[in-house]
């Protein structure tokens, strides 16, 4: 049975990876999960300089999901390159570095720093709903998506994955804009902007007022958007949004995703990623699927 998939020329041993921000740089979950079993580890977003992130409370539970407004806290590219990449390099998995920034120059600086590192792929976060500047400001305007994609591509040594926001009127417009800018692949969906109010304290549950909604409750939205994007562009798609079981992951593959990211599920099941790897193999066994690539976009 062949579980390998290829994203922009990079071969993954299986289509299961982690969603940025839910897995750190792998060190914490590495105590519980064999990172060698994952197709790739996608790191927490890293910027050119350290970011302190938002005030607490940064998360809130909602029905079937959660809100987060971490605010892209990160140690900056210098510490990341010295500490996190060497850590991940010890494992037989691909390294996908998520990149965040406030300006185009910020993104470019990080992408250039990563050029001579062991990072296999770059995932450009233009869709974080929790920072005032940058992030989503780039992700909701097709002209901006195309422009930043082109600029990042001009400076990147590794293939570039653009991570798209679901907080748009038409996901296919953004997917096409990224393709026009030269993206090598797409990731979707980032979180949906949400809000929770604490009726007892009569205040917002999050210090940031709004936060990104993730978890099993968002999965149908994500499957729909992956399907739409897969039918609008020729780029490989990394599908994510509420995946917590192998069945969820297979749904995304059938909708057109070449690989999948597991995010919020790590929080309620630290073993979710490897259980999904096992579950995909069991599904392939059950239905006599020789090559996982047969599943990609199989539902038209």
């Amino acid at each position: 049975m062949d579980t390998r998939v290829t994203i922009a020329g990079v071969e993954l041993k299986n289509p299961v990876m982690t969603a940025s921000g839910t897995f750190g740089s792998g060190a914490e979950y590495g105590e519980m999960v064999d990172l060698n079993r994952l197709g790739a580890v996608v790191t927490k977003g890293v910027a050119n300089v350290p970011w302190p992130g938002n005030p607490t409370p940064r998360i809130a539970e909602v029905y079937g999901g959660m809100l987060n407004a971490i605010g892209l806290q990160n140690p900056g590219i210098d510490v990341f390159v010295e500490r996190d990449i060497p850590f991940l390099k010890q494992y037989d998995t691909k390294i996908i570095v998520n990149v965040c920034g406030k300006t185009t120059e910020d993104y470019v600086e990080v992408v250039e720093r990563l050029g001579d590192t062991a990072a296999d792929l770059l995932e450009i976060n233009i869709s974080c709903p929790n920072v005032k500047e940058g992030g989503i400001a780039f992700g909701q305007d097709p002209k901006a998506v195309e422009a930043i994609t082109r600029e990042v591509k001009r400076h990147a040594k590794q293939p570039v994955i653009m991570k798209l926001s679901p907080n748009v009127t038409d996901i296919t417009v953004m997917a096409k804009a990224a393709e026009a800018g030269g993206a090598d692949a797409l990731s979707l969906i980032n979180t949906l902007t949400g809000m929770k109010i604490d009726i007892h304290r009569r205040t917002f549950a999050l210090a940031n007022k709004t936060g990104g909604f993730s978890g099993p409750a968002v999965k149908p939205v994500a499957v729909r958007m992956v399907y739409q994007a897969a039918n609008a562009v020729r780029l490989p798609i990394i599908g994510m949004g509420g995946i917590s079981t192998a069945e969820d992951a297979i749904e995304f593959l059938l909708a057109g995703a070449t690989a999948v990211s597991v995010g919020t599920a790590n929080f309620f099941n630290p073993y979710a990623t490897t259980e999904i790897v096992d579950g995909i193999e069991a599904y392939m066994e059950r239905y006599g699927v020789e090559d996982v690539k047969e599943l990609i976009g199989a539902v038209k």
Partner: protein
């Protein structure tokens, strides 16, 4: 060894005060490694509630492989826990966090409200002269008797129905409580006042913090507190309560 997520079995459950429950779990893989001041993540059975509830360890019985959790019902998740009876199976991850450093000098253990239970675990673990100062809302003095087996106990109540009327610092002053090291867990305003008190009196002080958590193991960066210096891991003035704490030297955090 590291934290593990296992299926624990409820051995007993009792209500200690209004909304405060004591649940004993058989969880040998966790109990074997656990120490006072650490916590566990407890998962609800209702899959609409995704995130684990972090609950401090009130007691650790390594021989029996049991953990005792004393918790307050604060919402639907802890309300579900309070309905568990002996034999119920529950998903638990732990042990999590760093735990209290055990200093060999006269200790003052201060607990406020639902910050009292982890101090009982510490009271048992310490092997030196120790005294407890416990702050309650009213005269439902849960766990007080159990502290008394290990040393003197002073009580403060908000309504004045038992002990000193007021807060734990009022009880410390009223009873002339003295020590060379303070350990404390409770609401942030209490910890802030204790931090100031310890600094004024030149007493070494450790405080246990809490915050909303998702992963419980240091990956998601939800439960941060502000650190005085740039933190080694975050490279900013943030420490992770779940992983770098929950116990901090009072002077290393801004609360």
């Amino acid at each position: 060894m590291a934290q593990v997520k296992i299926e624990a079995v409820v051995k007993s459950q009792e209500m200690l005060a209004d909304g405060v429950y004591s649940m004993v779990l058989s969880a040998p893989e966790i109990a074997r490694q656990a120490k006072a001041g650490q916590f566990v993540s407890v998962y609800t059975k209702d899959s609409s509630r995704l995130l684990p509830r972090p609950i401090s360890l009130c007691g650790i019985d390594k021989e029996k492989g049991e953990l005792r959790l004393v918790y307050r019902v604060a919402g639907a998740g802890t309300e579900e826990f309070s309905r568990y009876e002996a034999g119920e199976k529950v998903q638990v991850m732990g042990p999590l966090g760093n735990g209290f450093p055990l200093k060999e000098k006269k200790a003052i253990l201060i607990g406020g409200g639902i910050g009292i239970p982890p101090m009982l675990g510490l009271m048992k673990a310490l092997d030196c002269e120790r005294t407890a100062v416990l702050g309650y809302r009213d005269s439902q003095l849960f766990l007080k008797d159990e502290f008394e087996a290990f040393g003197p106990v002073s009580v403060a109540t908000e309504d004045g129905s038992a002990g000193t009327k007021g807060n734990v610092l009022d009880a410390i002053r009223a009873n002339g409580v003295e020590g060379a090291v303070i350990y404390a867990c409770g609401p942030t305003p209490m910890l802030r006042a204790i931090k100031a008190y310890a600094a004024e009196n030149g007493i070494e002080c450790y405080i246990s913090l809490e915050e909303r958590m998702a992963c419980g193991i240091g990956a998601c960066l939800a439960c941060v507190c502000q650190s005085k210096e740039v933190d080694h891991h975050s490279n900013v003035h943030n420490k992770r309560i779940c992983k770098d704490g929950p116990v901090f030297a009072a002077e290393e955090v801004e609360i």
